[in-house]
């Protein structure tokens, strides 16, 4: 492992390391699983291989009853050998699809590893299809390939592809960027209005055809820590992107909302009036989980990019000890607020050598490991309690009101082990249990 220095912010400093090797992470295509649910009038067409199709269906875990709003245009030998023009083929598949699904308003052409390697120009394809469809359906493209993107980065690509399409407006507004559960979004909008911020919009919107405007009057709050490229493009469109901890946990969410309040010059007293009781209530909701989690040691494997904000929350609000915090990649600028809130000397490892990292897990004997689904059962079988990271991108965990639920995601596996372990692993005894 290579030491890449430490980040000093105030009195805190994290110990930043980097390693490379075999990785156990999803690629960016996986984010389609939640993106397509957010925008029911959008379709995600991956241009790739059978592996891509199999990946998304396996990551989705269960099949959805209805015909899904994502699919794969599977490249065949004919496409690769040049026997068929891949562009003609793609046009044909897109036409076929749109005929079948007339309700679709936005078609995302999603690049994959094979389409990137053969340099299939999806931007050109999107342009061509846009011309043909004449505004009936908007076609955009981005890459979710594993050679370029990790898991949640796919959402960054999808949102970045939408930024050029956002209408321009100078109007004063708050723009929440990153997929939120609908209920969480409603709640946050309500809270912002109580703070005095009237116009709150979201990217991605609930309907892909109702894109929010952007311009110099726009203040952006990122709801997720993996939207680097989207944030850059929004800045280019004149928006102000606020720096704040991410809205996970009561503290992070409060500081996130306060950043917006300050930007909108909401009176401090009224901000306190709204947020103080919420925070107090969150502390009550957190208390039972803190009881389970405090003093326990946690190891976060790299996957969703949520690892740093989660580590901050679990340490500061739940009293957990951080053994190691893995991140797939580290954008220091975007994470500076989070890094500053980590305890002194926290080991933050960027990248992965999965075998060496698992050696460290075994050596460190943490009480809880946050990891992907490929690793969870094998670690459980070794007696190590785990929490799947993919659940964190599907569950409504953002905002002050969700702090208790977020903590519960971590306390539940520990609580469960406590419940069933004694009966399932009885200690040898001379006395029958029911004697």
């Amino acid at each position: 492992m290579v030491r890449t220095g430490s980040v000093d912010a105030g009195e805190m400093s994290a110990n930043l390391l980097k390693e490379s090797g075999p990785r156990e992470v999803f690629c960016g295509l996986t984010s389609i699983v939640w993106l397509h649910r957010r925008m029911p009038d959008a379709f995600f067409l991956v241009v790739g291989s059978r592996t891509c199709a199999h990946l998304i269906q396996s990551a989705a875990g269960v099949m959805i009853f209805a015909e899904p709003r994502f699919g794969t245009a599977i490249l065949s030998e004919r496409d690769l050998a040049g026997l068929a023009d891949a562009h003609d083929e793609l046009d044909r598949v897109a036409r076929e699809l749109l005929k079948r699904r007339p309700e679709i308003r936005t078609l995302f052409l999603v690049g994959s590893c094979p389409s990137e390697v053969i340099k299939l120009d999806l931007a050109r394809a999107a342009e061509r299809l846009n011309e043909e469809l004449q505004g009936r359906v908007r076609v955009v493209n981005y890459s979710g390939s594993g050679i370029e993107t990790t898991f949640t980065q796919g959402e960054d690509g999808a949102l970045a592809a939408l930024v050029p399409l956002l209408p321009a407006s100078d109007a004063r507004q708050l723009l929440l960027v990153g997929t939120l559960a609908d209920a969480v979004e409603d709640r946050l909008i309500h809270l912002f209005s109580k703070l005095g911020i009237e116009t709150v919009r979201s990217l991605p919107p609930r309907q892909s055809s109702e894109l929010p405007p952007v311009g110099p009057g726009t203040t952006v709050l990122l709801t997720q820590p993996f939207l680097t490229e989207t944030a850059r493009l929004l800045r280019d469109r004149g928006a102000t992107v606020l720096k704040a901890p991410f809205p996970l946990g009561a503290e992070g969410s409060r500081r996130w909302m306060e950043a917006a309040a300050a930007n909108f010059q909401c009176p401090e007293a009224s901000v306190r009036e709204v947020l103080d009781p919420l925070e107090a209530r969150a502390r009550i909701a957190l208390a039972p989980h803190r009881e389970v989690l405090a003093g326990k040691r946690i190891f976060l494997l790299p996957e969703s990019q949520l690892e740093l904000p989660l580590a901050r929350f679990l340490h500061r609000e739940c009293g957990m000890e951080l053994v190691e915090v893995g991140v797939p990649y580290l954008n220091r600028e975007q994470m500076v607020e989070e890094l500053a809130l980590l305890p002194d000397g926290t080991t933050v490892v960027e990248g992965q050598h999965v075998e060496r990292q698992l050696d460290r897990v075994r050596a460190g004997r943490p009480d809880l490991v946050v990891c992907g689904m490929g690793l969870a059962n094998p670690l459980e079988a070794e007696g190590i309690t785990t929490k799947w990271s993919i659940e964190l991108v599907f569950s409504p965990i953002h905002g002050i009101d969700q702090a208790g639920d977020l903590a519960e995601l971590f306390s539940r596996p520990l609580h469960r082990r406590q419940l069933i372990h004694p009966a399932l692993h009885p200690t040898p005894s001379d006395h029958p249990v029911h004697a």
Binding site: T30, E67, I74, V93, P114
Partner: protein
């Protein structure tokens, strides 16, 4: 380019993973980008495995492509060899690596590793998972045994008689992510042992490299799953002269035929014909009066070749169902499935588009669907009872209890698993009949409890869907009020079919109005 929404099979390298993960002491280095590691969760989540599949992914990234990806491959091969010290190393590539042509197998062969290295070439843009599994198993068997191939096959299948020992067979084909393989192996071992036949090697499931080396010591190979083992069995036959049995023992008739075939090949006296009746409850359960109502139940079957063919035989010959649709997604098995369909007077559906399968299912208007997890979802949408008989499967299709498909116990399991959803369909009908009784509590759908309850509405919704769909298509035909009332008395799961029959009958005889009388006329017409 082909539009795919849900796929029945993964790419061929997932088939290779199934072989590697099934075995002991075999490691697979897969030249693949980040993200392809998703395949691990098939094993750890669907099969609930407590071990990671023995796979090292080179996880190359875009920035590696400009540089030396060959060096990256060698580094990962060396690390895997050092860390896991496998008895054999499989080296191959996934779809993306196939495009950059690093030839990882050749690279690994040249590294002077202490263990045998088997190169896998699995064309990802033309082949699929089951083919990949078969090819991997074949390459491994061939790679490990080719040095011991005799100049002339000199195998004596009856050698056990001279050697004064029990006959010995290998069970080939069971693998992880196969359908109920774990339990089938136990069942077939038990069955053969009852007949004084020993099992030498089971492979690939739980086999090590040493076991593969012992394969030629058996008198006979038993090909349990042709999708995975047929190519290996043929190679062993061609090169060592070891014959193999071809009957897959799923169902009463097939289990009997399997025993007859194995006994004949081994030169043993044929088994008792009555054995199945004595050892399985299935035949009596099917004969008992309670099962009378199963007669002629319309069944739609779709799955991998092996399980679809077996299901068709069981349904038509052992349960007295009427098979109204038969198909498979495995193109490799198209020929035997077509033959099985032809015997039933059907045309086989060879297709890997689940929407086309769903359309065929709706068209056939079955009362029971036997399929994969795809058909389970389609059947649920159409409100038709369903049992899963084949991969692809869901975690719930890997039960904790012993539930084989093969052998005498397998027949018992099948009877329960296939008849149970039908009884539930009947219950639904009874609920409909008693709906107007004052004791009836609305929302009582006991059998839907395990599916989350919302399915009840699905049933009615879908029958409406079928109804309205056909109203649109029937054009000038008019249903009279009493015709509609009569139609409503028919159980929802056959209502669509009855409506269609009545309409085509009406068109045939040139009648514009469909009354209750027309319905009865049509009924008589189609039964005749």
């Amino acid at each position: 380019m082909e539009l795919t929404l849900w796929t029945y099979e993964g790419p061929p390298h997932v088939g290779a993973m199934r072989i590697a993960a099934s075995m002991q002491g075999v490691h697979y280095v897969l030249h693949a980008p980040q993200g392809d590691t998703y395949a691990d969760l098939l094993f750890t989540m669907i099969e609930r495995r407590g071990q990671r599949p023995p796979v090292t992914y080179t996880t190359f990234q875009a920035r590696d492509l400009g540089g030396d990806t060959a060096e990256l491959v060698k580094r990962h091969v060396q690390e895997a060899a050092d860390r896991f010290q496998p008895d054999a190393l499989l080296v191959g590539e996934s779809c993306t690596a196939e495009l950059i042509q690093d030839q990882p197998g050749a690279l690994a062969q040249g590294m002077g590793l202490p263990m045998p290295v088997v190169t896998l070439e699995l064309p990802a843009y033309s082949k699929k998972e089951n083919w990949g599994a078969a090819e991997t198993f074949y390459q491994l068997v061939r790679g490990l045994l080719k040095q011991t191939v005799p100049p002339q096959p000199n195998h004596d299948v009856k050698a056990w008689k001279q050697e004064g020992r029990r006959p010995r067979v290998n069970l080939l084909g069971p693998s992880l992510l196969g359908f109920r393989c774990r339990d089938d192996v136990l069942e077939i071992q038990r069955l053969l042992s009852l007949h004084g036949i020993d099992v030498g090697v089971v492979a690939p499931l739980s086999a090590g490299v040493k076991d593969i080396l012992r394969l030629p010591q058996a008198d006979l190979n038993v090909c349990l799953y042709p999708e995975v083992a047929e190519s290996s069995c043929s190679w062993l036959e061609r090169n060592f002269g070891i014959p193999f049995s071809k009957t897959v023992p799923i169902g009463m008739g097939a289990t009997h035929d399997f025993l007859v075939e194995v006994h004949a090949l081994l030169g043993m006296a044929p088994p008792e014909a009555a054995e199945g009746y004595q050892r399985s409850r299935m035949p009596w359960y099917s004969e008992s009066v309670d099962s009378t109502y199963l007669t002629g139940k319309r069944v739609f079957i779709f799955g991998d070749g092996t399980h679809a063919i077996a299901a068709a035989r069981i349904c038509s010959e052992e349960l007295g169902f009427t098979v109204v649709g038969l198909g498979t997604y495995s193109r490799e098995m198209a020929r035997p499935v077509r033959a099985a369909a032809k015997r039933l007077g059907l045309e086989a559906l060879i297709c890997d588009d689940y929407l086309a399968v769903e359309a065929a299912m709706a068209e056939a208007a079955p009362e029971l669907v036997l399929g994969t997890q795809m058909e389970r979802h389609s059947a649920k949408r159409l409100g038709i009872p369903c049992a899963v008989i084949s991969t692809p499967m869901h975690v719930q299709d890997v039960p904790a209890r012993h539930s084989p498909q093969m052998g005498w116990e397998g027949a018992n399991v099948i009877f329960d698993a296939w008849v149970h959803p039908l009884m539930m369909g009947l219950e639904e009908h009874l609920i409909g009949m008693f709906r107007h009784d004052f004791e009836f509590v609305d929302g009582h759908q006991s059998h839907l409890g395990h599916q989350g309850g919302a399915g009840a509405e699905n049933g009615t919704e879908v029958s409406n869907e079928i109804d309205s769909h056909h109203e649109a298509s029937s054009g000038q035909l008019v249903w009279t009020a009493d015709g509609e009332a009569e139609l409503k008395k028919i159980p929802f799961f056959v209502r669509g079919k009855v409506r269609r029959n009545a309409e085509s009958y009406a068109k045939e005889v040139g009648c514009k109005e469909i009354s209750s009388e027309t319905l009865y006329d049509a009924k008589a017409h189609y039964k005749a």
